[in-house]
Symmetry: C2
Subunit: 149 residues, 2 copies
DNA sequence: CAATATGGACAGGCCATCTGACTACATGTC
DNA sequence: GACATGTAGTCAGATGGCCTGTCCATATTG
């Protein structure tokens, strides 16, 4: 008889969301390390996901990612030190700086998306045909609903 | 024209899993704080989720949660200091200690599950009828597949 | 111009994890 | 029963990823 307090009765939706997320993360960031990007960590995706091709300000990145300016500056600094982004003064505003992906930054971003798709495909193979598409669709609808509260 | 590097092209499955997880967490742990459990943090769910009614050892908890013994001991210590768990020597093994939920620990565990269900219901209300059940079912199947690799 | 808002930097702190080194106890083998 | 090895837990130290508070420089607006 299993006496577990939570999981025996019912797995929480939090557990069900977090488990695949963590497995995915391990594989994606492990894969990045294996492919020559060892210094990219999950938190850095907050930068990579939101950075505009024409460059973004730290404040904008912070707001889009839901982090403080200081936290975003910390992440950007690490990416800049490792050569994934460049930071240059914004010609349009003397206070601001523009963060841009370098060639290496674009490479890591593309690799990240590719690895993510690969792991997603592997997850899909563990479900019945078509179910991963359903899952992705539902998560997308939920994200749409949550992005605009 | 949106030039975002990742999200404009396609939201990664990681993003789609993490977004609802984070919204859920904010609400569940905010709710716990509001209901008199201000010192419970998301990491503590690793203890609450895996602890057995008859008591569990730190090592067992660590293994089930996928953490090191040291990390689990750190979490257990905080919960013990706040009165959510008791820690007593294991009569069956002089090296070991048994971690048990106190009455307050049971209360927090039940409240956690209840809040989780409430937020899940709120999420469900943002989707078409029945879709949340489908989503939960698919996540459950995926979790089953990932729990036994 | 003065007042206020904004972009960013600096300092300091906390939490949640890790690794490495260690002690105390348990167990299995001879 | 003694010894070798394995296991439960602790101590110490480090790191990453966030936070708040404070401050400076530059914009913007009345």
């Amino acid at each position: 008889m299993d006496e577990r307090t939570i999981s025996a009765t019912e797995r929480t939706i939090g557990y069900l969301l977090r488990l695949p997320y963590e497995r995915l993360s391990e594989r994606v960031y492990g894969g990045l390390a294996a492919q020559g990007f060892p210094d990219i960590r999950p938190a850095h995706s907050a930068v990579l996901r939101h950075i505009a091709g024409s460059g973004s300000r730290v404040s904008d990145l912070a707001e889009r990612a839901g982090l403080t300016k200081q936290s975003m500056a910390y992440l950007v600094e690490a990416l800049a030190a490792a050569g994934y982004v460049s930071v240059a003064p914004d010609p349009a505003d003397g206070r601001a700086k523009l963060v841009r992906l370098t060639r290496r930054g674009h490479a890591v971003s593309e690799t990240l998306v590719r690895l993510s798709r690969e792991v997603e495909a592997d997850f899909a193979a563990r479900l019945a045909p078509g179910q991963m598409a359903t899952l992705r669709g539902l998560l997308g609808e939920l994200a749409d609903a949550l992005e605009r509260p």
